[in-house]
Symmetry: C2
Subunit: 185 residues, 2 copies
DNA sequence: CACCAAACAGACAGGTCTGTCTGGTGTCAA
DNA sequence: TTGACACCAGACAGACCTGTCTGTTTGGTG
């Protein structure tokens, strides 16, 4: 019977791991579960990723890449810097609400990996630095002299809305954050 | 030899659990480790708390109680509502920096317990609701008509600064948050 | 067609997890 | 003094964890 072609196992594992790690938490999901959900053997999982730690890093890198695509879509869809910045709030909210307010995968990973030197934390810093850089680049065009401070402040609002919406299990914090962001701009 | 008096085991376990759960994460710490660190047997731990889940809830309740004492101290030390609100930012920052920016114990627990119906999440909601209520009560005296919105906004700034300071491993986000809070007031 | 890489199936090792149980020891109060 | 109680010491069960191993089957390529 048509078994899957070689080389697909890695992608299937990554897809299953993404869903499970995000939904249940990283420490709470074992590699057996990931392999079973992916329809793949543990040997194939280890052949592709080497260890669970590396699979976790791959999971976060993949999510960062998909988020970057979202940012690119925003850049294409909106021309003005203010519109782009506000669209980031909408995109963030959409990602969180789509999965029942489970929170930011990178902040969750930060909670589960306390060591700041862990490779996981490097991916998190990379992701957040990229987001901050995008905001600052946009603001540089709109309000050059306030760009740095504004980018810091908008990051606080974004992250605050993210975690607060998880506790509250609804999108209301994002409305508060976006309204305040609009007045700051 | 002077063994400890009966009744002390519970307090010793709670103290050890608080330190370990907060530092390493809840799922990452086993009950054997907690019992060993407390200088107590597992039997005593289970005799006092019944299960790890209940110990986790006790840990968060205890931390909430200690935070409430901090809030009470702020109320005593400052008379004006604006001073009290800004002092909350300082207290939050002090708690995080004192433990190497490991983050808010309640938000970390939220990451580790995805089910919103979990007793752990109820403690988290209680804690955050109490904080929000304190801010709103203070603001009611300073700016009655804006109190509700302002309390929401300050919560976003507090939570945003908390998680961002963990990623960055420094207190800079709190300075940004406090400055913005001051201009909002 | 023959070969090889990559998948399969599934057992296995060694460790850790939560939770229980047995039996001994110390303390306090009646 | 005696009994209740809370603890100690440590083994134990059963599940789950990561990671490895043996051997087989398959699909794509030279």
């Amino acid at each position: 019977m048509g078994r899957t072609r070689p080389g697909d196992a890695g992608a299937k594992v990554l897809k299953a791991a993404s869903a499970l790690f995000y939904r249940d938490g990283i420490h709470a999901v074992g590699v057996d579960t990931v392999a079973a959900e992916a329809g793949v053997t543990k040997a194939a999982l280890y052949g592709n990723f080497g260890s669970k730690s590396r699979l976790v890093v791959a999971y976060l890198r993949d999510r960062d890449r998909r988020w970057q695509e979202e940012i690119d879509a925003i850049t294409i869809a909106h021309a003005g810097p203010r519109e782009r910045v506000l669209a980031v709030f909408d995109a963030y909210e959409a990602w969180l609400s789509a999965d029942g307010y489970r929170g930011c995968a990178f902040l969750n990973a930060t909670s589960e990996f306390p060591d700041p030197a862990d490779p996981v934390r490097e991916v998190v810093r990379h992701h957040k630095t990229a987001l901050h850089g995008y905001l600052r680049a946009q603001l540089q065009r709109a309000e050059p002299q306030r760009a740095d401070v504004l980018a810091d402040e908008l990051m606080l609002l974004l992250e605050g809305a993210a975690v607060t919406s998880v506790v509250a299990q609804n999108a209301q914090p994002f409305r508060t954050a976006k309204r305040l962001a609009r007045t700051l701009l």
